[in-house]
Symmetry: C2
Subunit: 513 residues, 2 copies
């Protein structure tokens, strides 16, 4: 990347050109730069260009390819003079790469050298997995129990949890599924698998508790196959509301006693599963936060960890850059399968991948989903892709894994939790106050201005990369070290500090009834 | 109906035959009745028949129609002897009525005589509507703000609300929409309309407050068209989390001051909008609770109120009984339109209407969706159908209205709230602890056993109809009077007593991204 030199001040005009082939660059300065601004290279702006937006580095004729990240992000709808602002209205979107003739695993990156000497302090579970928090997770087989469960959990947290100081939290895994849905629809496999895998998240320490109603379609026994009856509480078998609440509290306390005995022990990084996500992206995402997270992902993979990246609509347009990286054809075919699944899913809804970009993405300088995708996949770093997961599946391999999910922050978060992540790293440009109760979320800002505006929400500022104050490598190491600190309970994310948590949100491609 | 005489004891064997054409009846006695039991009419049971399940009143040959409510609910899969238990495995489901040749409005019921002399005490709003609660409703334009909003609302309820004793509650209208969705999908009209109409629910007294993020797809201005900027709070414009929370609290308090001045005044029943729903149905639903609610619905309509009934998959199989009741062909065509919409929606998900019935319905004696639907439409009473609403629309007429919604309790509840209901009457056989924060929910039990088991959740016991202790008319009047008491704040439902509320659940037939 052609980044500004380290330690330059932000006051001078700065742009970032990512790849030597690029004929556009993005403006770094907060507030953008006015027409007439001249850069050290001689480039002069013909008009005001907002921060994060693209400036033409050469004259472009109508129909010329607009190139960023060394890739075509679109074509000029009319002649564009060098120094002009290229807003999204000047860019036509190229067709998505076809899925049937992509090379699979033809340029598998070499394994990076192992990284030794790093550990974290985790809760070792009986089944060998490790937790990064110590939580009583209460599963629900159906949405009907949510009101009662919320009421009971509030009382548990007020009256019982203080007696068990080694337990971090009690979390009701409420959701909108279980009845009033087409439980036999072909697509029902997705939400059911998600709930099954959530129920046994490693942060719950193997203590299972399922609250059901009694007449629902999704049976509590289905939620955790082989589950003992003593772990299921059925509201229709209770004598009224007061008894329901008492029964939930009693069952919870039995488990809190056991969870309270958990102690952190030193664990190898290879026990960690880290999820990556972005939300509220801007044009900096792909040059600051996402590459830094990509660097941290490489460090994690080198140390033996499992790293999941996701968000189908944000990799779809860069899929030709991912298929060469899969370790074998089988993994490649699984990657294509997930892309085709989503193409069809969107098609049935009479939309296409362009439905992904939000107004805020465009305000942030992203012309379209192609540009967004190229920036998004920077999170994946440079490792080989060892496995591909359908939504909510658990990994069987270590290393870098593609876990297919929608890009929706809440659905992606829920599905990655089902896949067993211990920590999520979340990059944001526009800014979003996102958090998950089940696993810590580290929020990485793409811009210094956001980090300064939200000092009590943003955990890492990657905006320093754009201004030359830090390198991608430096911020990557900062993120890597913070992941280990947070996983060990030594440091708290801002979301955990405030208890700022979003509800679970299932991906249910099947109909409701 | 051929119901047992009033004041008979439950100890003697009882069955209910609904229509003179029926060749089956359902067993009333708790626990069912053993083989050998002989009824006063001479019928003898050939085997144990569970409570709520069907007994054959005549010998049936293979393929013979099984008739309940005077309608065919299915065909015998093998010969069935008189006195046998007809469980769902013995019943094949008939095809759903075709939608293209149904008579529209050919048997419009006569208007029932007006019912004078009833009023309730409501909060009159500036726009003429009336509220039954006094609530500050805080709308969210996107799911990203939910964590912050929950945090702020908790503080408002602890620190500010006690200063404004005339205000009942502060409710965050959180949902899973606004971004990460295909906002331009044809189907997006449904969730957007729902959120728009929820924001201005009459119980909010015309005080509007919208919290947005700043980069979402659903703009706060779209949520309430014509909304003044002073009613919108954008998190991305705030200086960090602490300031976000303070800003929400300040904006809320300004509105609480005004809401605190609301006072109840005497209002005609014609100002009331009452929603009807059922959940966790059993074979008694159609003979006890639903007919009693239907009687109350007739009383409401006679007194000038608006009554909404819903749940497409539960009327679809009885649609031929509804189309004759529409006031004109236009309303009839709208009814057909909503049925076709849902047929197609389910078809795209590769399921059909049989996806509705839950295991609990079948345990409760309902063989299939045809039997369930015939019992479900009893809620609609005997009035003409004056209007049909697409999901989440507001009524323009009074009287009995069909408001199309999924049958899912939470989605139906959310959509009926968007349509402006002031009170929901909810019948349940299996039992479900359901509640809505925005409007009171009156829960009516179909069985005495449930009312006795859940005395602190069930508001009305209609099970007395099955045992002959009360008539449909008596329970209907009880429900009607309770609706007016609850609407007036004179009586509290159990859900309101406990603060037992389920989250809103949008109907989003469009894709997520
Ligand atoms: Ca993203
Ligand atoms: Ca996302
Ligand atoms: Ca129902
Ligand atoms: Ca139902
Ligand atoms: Ca329902």
């Amino acid at each position: 990347m052609n980044l500004p030199n380290k330690n330059k001040k932000q006051e001078q005009p700065l742009y970032i050109k990512v790849n030597s082939k690029d004929n556009v660059a993005i403006i770094v300065n907060t507030g953008g730069l006015p027409g007439g601004t001249t850069f050290p290279c001689g480039l002069q702006l013909r008009e005001h260009v907002p921060q994060g937006h693209k400036v033409a580095l050469t004259d472009l004729a109508q129909g010329d390819a607009i190139i960023r990240y060394g890739e075509v992000i679109g074509y000029a709808v009319r002649p564009i003079a060098k120094g002009s602002w290229i807003d999204e209205s000047l860019v036509t979107m190229p067709a998505a790469p076809g899925l049937d003739e992509l090379p699979l695993g033809n340029r598998v990156p070499p394994m990076l050298p192992p990284l030794e000497g790093y550990t974290f302090e985790g809760y070792r579970n009986a089944n060998g997995t490790v937790g990064t928090k110590n939580i009583l997770g209460i599963s629900a087989s159906v949405q009907c129990v949510a009101g009662v469960l919320d009421y009971a959990v509030k009382k548990i947290k007020e009256e019982i949890l203080p007696k068990y100081p080694n337990v971090d939290d009690v979390v009701a895994l409420n959701h909108n599924y279980g009845c009033g849905v087409a439980i036999n629809a072909p697509e029902a496999v997705v939400p059911i698998r998600t709930l099954q895998n959530l129920a046994v998240h490693p942060n719950f320490g193997g203590e299972i508790m399922v609250v059901g109603l009694g007449c629902e379609k999704l049976l509590p026994e289905q939620l955790v196959p082989g589950l003992d009856k003593t772990n299921i509480l059925t509201l229709q078998e209770q004598q009224g509301f007061t008894n329901m609440v008492q029964a939930i509290m009693k069952m919870a306390e039995e488990r809190l006693v056991k969870l309270n005995r958990r102690r952190r022990v030193t664990c190898p990084v290879s026990d960690l599963v880290v999820g990556l996500q972005c939300g509220g992206s801007d044009a900096f995402s792909g040059v600051t936060a996402n590459p830094a997270v990509g660097y941290a992902a490489d460090l994690l993979v080198r140390a033996g960890a499992t790293v999941l990246f996701s968000e189908v609509t944000e990799v779809r347009d860069a899929i030709h850059l991912l298929t060469p990286r899969v370790v074998n054809e089988e993994v490649g075919r699984a990657l294509i399968r997930e892309m085709k699944y989503y193409d069809r899913y969107l098609d049935l809804g009479e939309v296409d991948r362009s439905a992904n970009t939000a107004p805020g993405n465009k305000k942030g300088g992203l012309a379209n989903i192609v540009e967004k995708a190229l920036g998004s996949i920077a999170k994946s770093g440079s490792s080989p892709i060892t496995e591909v997961l359908a939504p909510g599946e658990k990994p069987k391999r270590k290393g870098l894994i593609y876990a297919a999910t929608p890009a929706s922050d809440f659905i992606c978060g829920t599905l990655q939790l089902a896949s067993g992540i211990h920590v999520q790293v979340f990059t944001t440009g526009r800014g979003t106050p996102y958090g998950l109760a089940v696993a810590p979320v580290i929020k990485v800002s793409t811009r210094t201005a956001l980090a300064e505006q939200w000092p009590d929400l943003i955990d890492v500022n990657a905006g320093t990369i754009a201004t030359g104050e830090a390198t991608i490598e430096e911020v990557g190491w900062e993120i890597f070290r913070l992941i280990l600190d947070v996983a060990s309970g030594r440091k708290k994310t801002w979301a955990d500090h405030w208890g700022l948590y979003n509800a679970l949100c299932l991906f249910n491609p099947g109909p409701v009834t």
